[in-house]
Symmetry: C2
Subunit: 321 residues, 2 copies
């Protein structure tokens, strides 16, 4: 998950100086924001500071981030007419600033700490492009899939191509692992996932530069896990809505898993955080290939000392094994 | 799911005359709204028109329904001090109007059509009472569970008691089945469900008048299904995020299941609705104990003729077997 965020005072200080998109587009500042939580928390990897919708801006759909409002797409894609003019994205000129951020982070980071890049998965990115922003029911997306499958296919093709070049650019710039966030794919039934998402995810994983591990993450995916595994990824990210052991069984023990403490647990005091962290580690005990993580992003209400306590607890309990 | 709703012109006409709570509290009008979709759609049962938060009003937390805003709780329950004064609810005087509605519906309905009553499950009702309304992340609820388990226990005890008497009153008034909506329980990890919800659901099912089948429903529950089954219910409701066959395997074939077409499919044209309905029925084929239903409520954008088409399709395809 992104490590920088509003729970972190030094991030809030940076956001007082830069707008969200402005911060993403300023490699020196974005690198600083990437490195802040690494120093503060003592985590084992740095997660690139960026946004899953940066790749959408060159599509010309009118991306804006209002103050505290989340992303807004001014010209949402709703049918054949809207996808007809979507061309391939010139990734290098559109999001070259992200590659610059990765290079700066890699250079500044101690050699034993990897830098992890990321992108939004095509379904999740498309959900914003089609809905016009965040959504509750994803009705425009589903209607497009059901009623205009050729338009959906075209949108997916454009996003698969752009996303692969975006992640490969991050890898070339020094990212040692990449994560694909299909954050909202859990709104789909397994039959929808198989028809409208799986082929595109397969195509995307096939285009990635071989070598760096790819992490494949979504939320609300308990019933989708075997299909996500079929789609691709060296590591499958699990959210907290599934037991870690059951989730690992579902994806198969020949892939690694990442997860899966409910970030809401970080609102409780450290002794309770310890108890729940122990339970996650216990569920992974006796196997290799578990990367401890939260099941989704850190809530802005979280005390930063609780996050630091979590990192220390994980280190302590993992060293004991 | 509730059959009345904004997708239905005759319901919108009634709502032009009555506020939402006012409509619930007016048994003659509520009975009329209950019966409208039965006549219009030709469904096989009538679902009581009511709201899961009616039982909350006598708690004195200040329930209001703003125009199009959803429910608002003016004095949310956040800790020990807030639950101390929560007493048992005098159900008969507080929601006797619902029992009157059930009696009127039962009297007006042809004898072969059952009337189904319902209530919100304690977790889902508590989520409104604690958050103060609808929520995205349920952080106040989770913090209460983790940090003040005695207060959570007290709140659950009050709601279990009130909900059991509320459903038993509906049964006494003529409801031939009852449904417990734990609509938002899917935000919990299995470990949270086991600790903070399961014992209370067990207690609630044990208090229900024996005889009428109880339906136990939630959304986003793919990983919770075995625990929900353990908690109770003669029928387990499945949302669309799980394959019907896999969901039935998870709860066991000695209980019935209800579900599970994605209501978003009803935005598509009838031939597509037919295809997806066939797939749900196919997944249940060869077994008895499947009640066809949507996986959640009908979206207000849904053309009413698509809903009618669905009912006809289900009748036609089921008769063929």
């Amino acid at each position: 998950m992104r490590q920088a965020g509003r729970y972190l005072p030094e991030y809030r200080a940076m956001r007082a100086r830069y707008g969200f998109l402005e911060l993403c587009k300023h490699p020196e500042a974005a690198a600083e924001v990437t490195l802040q939580p690494v120093e503060r928390l003592g985590v084992d990897a740095a997660i690139l500071f960026a946004d899953i919708l940066l790749i959408v801006e060159p599509l010309g759909v009118g991306l804006e981030f209002g103050a505290g409002e989340g992303p807004v797409i001014e010209r949402p894609v709703r049918g054949e007419a809207d996808v007809a003019w979507l061309g391939p994205v010139d990734v290098e000129s559109a999001v070259g600033f992200v590659f610059d951020t990765v290079r700066r982070v890699r250079k500044a980071l101690p050699v034993h700490l990897p830098v992890i890049g990321f992108a939004g998965a095509p379904f999740t990115v498309a959900s914003y492009v089609v809905e016009g922003g965040a959504s509750r029911d994803y009705l425009h997306v589903k209607r497009l899939m059901y009623e205009a499958p050729a338009a959906w296919q075209r949108l997916m093709d454009v996003l698969v191509d752009a996303t692969a070049r975006y992640l490969n650019g991050q890898i070339a710039a020094g990212a040692q692992a990449v994560q694909l966030f299909d954050s909202w794919v859990g709104v789909l039934s397994p039959v929808d996932y198989r028809a409208f998402v799986l082929p595109h995810m397969k195509a995307l994983f096939a285009k990635l530069t071989p070598g760096p591990p790819a992490i494949h993450f979504g939320t609300g995916t308990a019933a989708l896990l075997p299909l996500m595994r079929e789609a691709g990824g060296d590591v499958i990210g699990l959210d907290w809505r599934v037991d870690l052991g059951a989730g690992w069984d579902a994806v198969g023990h020949d892939v690694a898993v990442q997860g899966n403490l409910d970030p809401a647990v970080l609102l409780a005091a450290p002794p309770y955080i310890r108890k729940r962290t122990q339970a996650v580690l216990d569920a992974a005990a006796g196997r290799t290939g578990h990367i401890f993580n939260l099941g989704h992003g850190i809530h802005k209400e979280t005390p930063v000392e609780h996050v630091k306590a979590l990192v220390d607890i994980v280190h302590e309990l993992s060293d004991r094994r």
